[in-house]
């Protein structure tokens, strides 16, 4: 256990910071969905050229073979600059699932394509819109004379609009739930782009007998999907750390420069204490995120689920506290859309709802704990 950055890790963060700065310098107001899609794909190609798309992929499969620690550093840096590339979907969740596929061919082809940036896979799992419950799995796959065909609807698919492929969870008649690889652009697959709370795009997918390929032979697909998504959740927690850093920085600056009653508002103890609460929330969030990353490395499913859910619920809860305090300490400027804070706090809320919120994860934490005793 060591919390200091190595030379290589510093260089990696530096690379991401420079990439983010160049994206921000070129940023224009996204006028249309098409422009947003093109921009996202172009930026993703740039990240792939920097090697970042294959960060977690083994060197033999064309990746860098790095660990969750590096992923956290990248995500935090991306959160701080609010660049929001589809890094977690394409470079964390997808490869973490594909690496467990039963087919060596699929594994090799997909992982190399992901690392190179040509294959962008989004995870399509959820079907409910008022619950994060995944037990209702209505999407079905039928065997149509040797060809598998998928039908159903998937809601709120993160980074789905810019994906080349989807991993879709569905029931395969007789054998039960599995995960399927589906290429975009096929007949029967319709993708509806939705504007996200954080300003990006989210997809609603509808499948009507779309050709699909099963990723797993056995019945352990749900276990493997959970594991992959848990990696993504920890990465989102790290992005939230970056958001909190920026919200703290904006607030600290405001406390020093804003004057009322003839002095900086940061000289008032009530406001100092609210800021201290923000610092504590951010530090506890960081601790929880590191804890969850360590649990991922242990590869023990109950421990992993407990610690990942502990971290996600804590980061959601503390993220909410940080953004609320940031608004309050900024006063009325904090409730304007124009001020920078607005984008950070909307992204924070988006992360809350990405791969389940605090309520869901506290429940999952409790359930894992009870199943163990």
């Amino acid at each position: 256990m060591n919390f200091d950055l190595t030379e290589d890790q510093r260089a990696l963060v530096d690379t991401v910071d420079k990439f983010a700065a160049s994206v921000i310098a070129r940023r224009t107001d996204p006028s249309s969905t098409e422009a947003m899609v093109t921009g996202t794909i172009d930026r993703w190609q740039e990240m792939a050229e920097l090697g970042l798309a294959g960060l977690m992929i083994a060197e033999d499969d064309g990746g860098l073979g790095l660990t969750m620690a590096e992923t956290l550093l990248i995500c935090e840096a991306l959160g701080q600059s609010l660049v929001q590339p589809p890094f977690i979907s394409y470079a964390v969740i997808a490869p973490k699932l594909i690496e467990t596929s039963s087919s060596t061919d699929v594994r090799t082809a997909c992982l190399q394509g992901i690392a190179g940036g040509s294959i962008r896979i989004a995870m399509a799992r959820d079907e409910s819109i008022l619950d994060f419950d995944q037990s209702q799995l209505n999407s079905r796959v039928e065997d149509d004379g040797g060809t598998l065909r998928l039908s159903g609807t998937k809601e709120l698919v993160i980074d789905g609009v810019t994906a080349t492929h989807f991993i879709v969870t569905a029931q395969l008649a007789e054998t039960g739930p599995n995960a399927f690889l589906v290429a975009a652009g096929q007949p029967g697959l319709s993708i509806t782009p939705l504007r996200g709370l954080g300003g990006g795009l989210i997809a609603r997918l509808s499948f009507d007998a779309v050709e699909a390929m099963a990723l797993f032979e056995g019945n352990d697909a749900p276990v493997k999907v959970d594991r992959a998504i848990d990696h993504g959740i920890v990465a989102f927690c790290a992005e939230a750390l970056g958001l909190m850093n920026r919200m703290l920085a904006l607030t600290a600056g405001y406390l020093k420069t804003r004057h009322q009653f003839g002095k900086p508002i940061g000289s008032f103890q009530a406001l100092q204490h609210r800021f201290a609460d923000m610092v504590v929330a951010a530090e506890q969030s960081r601790s929880a995120t590191y804890m969850a990353a360590a649990a991922l490395a242990e590869e023990d499913a109950p421990t992993r689920k407990q610690d990942v859910s502990a971290a996600k619920s804590l980061v959601c809860r503390h993220g909410r506290a940080v953004l609320e305090a940031a608004i309050q300490l900024h006063g009325a400027i904090g409730i304007t859309d124009e001020y920078e804070l607005s984008r950070y706090l909307r992204r924070m809320l988006e992360i809350e709802k990405t791969w389940s919120d605090a309520i869901y994860h506290e429940d999952r934490f409790s359930a894992e704990l009870m199943s163990r005793t």
Partner: protein, 400 residues
Amino acid sequence: MDLTFDAADRDFRDMIRDEIAALVPEDIRTRVNNLQHLTKDDYLRWQAILDQRGWATPAWPAEYGGPGWSPMQRVHFEEACFLAGAPRQIPHINMIGPVLQHFGTAEQKQRYLPGIPTLRDWWCQGYSEPSSGSDLASLRTKAVRKGDRYIVNGQKIWTTWAHWANYMFCLVRTSDHGRPQEGITFLLMEMDLPGITVRPIRSLDGAHDVNEVFLEDVEVPCENIVLGENQGWTVAKFLLNAERTEIAGLGQSKRLLQFAVRMLDRMTEQGVSPDRLRALRVRLDRIRIDLKAHEWTLMRVIAAQPGDPRAPSASILKLCGTDLLERLSALLMDMGGPAGLAYDPLARGGESDAAPPYGHVLNGTAATYLEFRKSGLVGGTTEIQKNLIYRETVHLWEVG
């Protein structure tokens, strides 16, 4: 950054847990698990057991007969003791010991250090005064030099276990010049000197842990100064830094969590309504989550190099540790339900052998809540910690 566990560290944690669990005497464990107070004799017996094992002074370096543990190993030791139902470590062992080792003269070390591991010499800390709490540097207990002695007059308060102590280390005023911090001296004295009177203070739960200590023309030899006249603030600050991992209260929180889990099991067995159980379980599990994060903050503080601006402030450890103790003790009270209406402080304090009407554990639930109201006050109040956090961190956030 490498977020994988160190195998040697885990081995040590497992080893110390097993060993400590095997060492705790059954009657002491029972009293601890009954949420009762311990007697001085309990502490002395446990300390003797630790001394035999070479673990009586966990924070002391090997050259002074300590186990030479790393800060993380000390955390594991402390946690093992709490989880096994052992008495808590007498904090003053880890305070006065390192102070003397660092600042004491050869004579002071020779005279005072040998009595500490066995608690043959029991030290108390004379810091707070009736008018000097958070603003400790304003303290007014005066030591006036007369030949080769000081004449000390004043009053200390909230002095834990002064009634069991035969020595006190205290802060006294030796000068009124300059900043208040510059006129303070760190002084050692025997508790049986003429002019020292100890008066008990009962706490909210009826227990007697803290005292008032009156000092009236107490004559203390000048050689009992540590470091030097008017240098006491330096010693006091060193001491604060030495306890920065203990203030996290991690072991204490884990013990209260253990009680809460047992209570929930008992309530489940006794058919408490599912709605009530669920409400309590949600609170319990949220505390568990926050406790996990707290543990990692402690690991990050320990791993940090001195002066690293990215390291969490030790004040965060105190703040979060306090928050957990307050919430856990409140949860225990709520778990006690209607049984908490009845309370027998004498049974809890071991001053009476009579069993309380609903048993010791239920007798201790509301009392534990009352007992832990102190946690946001001792060692710097929550509000002082927040002042410090603001001061230490606000400049680190540069708007770019």
